[in-house]
């Protein structure tokens, strides 16, 4: 009995240790985001200073806005394109399906830097240069295949006879798609959209090579501030502590709400 308990403790300790390592950097920043010092490790009093800097800096707010708008647009377009693509692929002949599936795997498995370089050279070679449009396309290239990947399994699970039944009952194909097929694959579409948002928010490399001059997202701004440095580096860096904490809190709240609402739905079904 004692041996079993020891094994249990050992397992819990291992999981705990890994989680501690994962959260240590985030928690460190969270703590220091409330302390009025620009150097981690030095003492200071409680202060909202970093948050005031974060929310009072128009440059930082601008790049946060840029990031969010870009993620929303890229995810929206990718979701529409990817969902249509998945539908088209699903109903295509096997050979067409295999080819399309294979090609849409390329951006998924390819190194991001290769995708970025290839896109950037192509854009410049055909005279598109670098603009918001090329940036958006770049993000769509990395997001859309993941939308396809998350819609596909739902299509495979779908009951195909319902679509036929709708047609037999006189619905037009377009109406049948909207009223019958779409509701069945909606969970896949939504998770594809969410995935596209996170991929776009996270992206650094493709953004770096396709963005118009002077356009900053959180990724490029933070990278440049830490790597290049400038006169205000220490100050800028400490406002990132606040930014990291805010984002982390939003994620925790989002996940908690999502889990609670799905729990409630399950209970309501019972």
């Amino acid at each position: 009995m004692n041996k079993q308990l020891a094994v249990k403790c050992l397992k819990a300790a291992f999981i705990g240790l890994v989680l501690l390592l994962l959260y240590a950097p985030i928690l460190l920043l969270a703590v220091y985001s409330f302390i009025g010092t620009d150097i981690i490790g030095t003492a200071g009093a409680f202060s909202w200073e970093h948050y005031r800097k974060l929310f009072g800096d128009p440059v930082i707010l601008g790049m946060i806005g840029n990031t969010l708008l870009l993620a929303f647009l890229a995810a929206l377009l990718s979701t529409v394109l990817g969902t249509l693509g998945a539908l088209g692929m699903f109903y295509s002949k096997k050979r067409v399906k295999t080819v399309l599936h294979g090609v849409s795997q390329i951006p998924v498995i390819n190194a991001e830097i290769v995708t970025a370089l290839a896109l950037a050279i192509t854009f410049v070679a055909v005279g598109l240069g670098k603009s918001y449009f090329t940036l958006l396309i770049g993000h769509m290239v990395i997001c859309t295949p993941f939308v396809v990947l998350s819609v596909m399994p739902k299509l495979k699970q779908m009951d195909n006879s319902l679509y036929e039944a709708a047609l037999d009952l006189g619905a037009s194909p377009a109406k049948a798609l909207f009223r019958i097929v779409l509701p069945q694959i909606l969970p896949g579409v939504i998770s594809g959209f969410m995935l596209a948002v996170t991929l776009s928010l996270d992206d650094y490399i493709v953004t770096m090579y396709t963005r118009p001059n002077g356009f900053e997202t959180i990724s490029t701004y933070v990278y440049n501030a830490t790597m290049r440095g400038n006169a205000h580096t220490a100050e800028t860096l400490s406002s990132f502590w606040a930014l990291t904490t805010v984002i982390f809190l939003l994620i925790v709240i989002f996940v908690a709400v999502a889990n609670l609402s799905s729990l409630r739905k399950k209970e309501a079904k019972k």
Binding site: I15, P25, G85, L87, S104, A111, L117, T144, I205, T244
Partner: protein, 292 residues
């Protein structure tokens, strides 16, 4: 801005024209009397041709041409005769191998403990492993940088820091697929193994391990490939002293697109060969934890 709009319009028109031409062709051939669902895939197919296939061909062309766009093997020869390039690739691979091994050593026990646990809310713990992934990637690496700076590791142990950052970043990619495959192993298999007299070790090595191979393989692919190329991690944590293949390409982007394309092409081939060897990326195996 107006040029952008113009380009957008031209591009949209080109897409529509392409789709229209295809449709007209099929109508003439008599294949498509009215709306078919296949046609929904046309915009995506056109998108893939323009922005996935075409760029790969452009890379191929640039890799085998010189600055005047004349066909040339110079980059190819230069690449394979330069010891610094080859050694960079060699130690990129070593860093990626170490990262993958460490990820596996941490992820397998985590996935195994969670999958075998009878805890009701174990998905909450699994969630905790994925949660940090949703913080912006650069902010996350910056957080590690601040931690290392505080404990004095930054600039002191560049390779250790780089590997730590990569493991930190890619760990969920390893945990999730292994967890998924382990969850698929039916309880009755463990019972049968025990009934037939196998001890815990035998069961693990003869039942659990062989059945978890698909998860391990897809985890390994998802960790190994990005850790060869994600130079953001090696730059920010390796104090710009660690150069991996990805960094190479980005440096050439500023100076020589043709050489950059050659390196990219080599990398492309490495990626595709290893994907073929491992049987490819399975769409069912979690997509970055979206299906949790």
């Amino acid at each position: 801005m107006s040029t952008t709009v113009l380009i957008l319009i031209i591009f949209g028109a080109a897409l529509l024209l392409g789709a229209g031409a295809l449709l007209a062709y099929r109508l003439v051939r008599g294949h498509m009397p009215h709306f078919t669902r296949k046609a929904l895939g046309i915009p995506y197919a056109v998108f893939l041709i323009f922005f996935v296939i075409a760029p790969m061909l452009v890379i191929l062309v640039y890799a085998f041409t010189d600055r005047n766009m004349h066909f040339s093997f110079a980059n190819f020869v230069k690449f394979f005769s330069d010891p610094t390039k080859l050694s960079t690739i060699a130690y990129s691979i070593v860093i990626a191998l170490i990262t993958t091994a460490v990820c596996l050593l941490i992820a397998f026990p985590v996935a195994y403990i969670l999958a075998r646990s009878k805890m009701k809310k174990k998905y909450v713990i699994l969630m905790l492993f994925v949660l940090p992934m949703w913080i912006n990637f650069v902010l996350r690496i910056n957080a590690i940088r601040e931690l290392f700076n505080w404990i004095g590791l930054l600039g002191e142990a560049n390779y250790f820091n780089t590997v730590f950052g990569m493991v930190y970043d890619f760990l969920p990619f390893m945990i999730l697929p292994i967890y998924t495959t382990l969850m698929k192993i039916e309880e009755s298999l463990y019972e049968a193994s025990a009934d037939l007299g196998a001890g815990a070790f035998t069961t693990f090595f003869r039942v659990t391990l062989p059945l978890s191979v698909p998860g391990v393989v897809s985890g390994v692919t998802m960790v190994f490939l990005p850790s060869m190329t994600n130079y953001v991690v090696s730059d920010m944590l390796g104090n710009s002293m660690v150069t991996i293949i990805g960094k190479f390409i980005s440096e050439y982007f500023a100076s020589d697109w043709h050489m950059g394309s050659m390196v990219a092409l080599v990398l492309l081939i490495v990626v595709f060969v290893s994907t073929l060897l491992t049987g490819g990326f399975k769409s069912e195996e979690n997509v970055r934890g979206a299906n949790l």
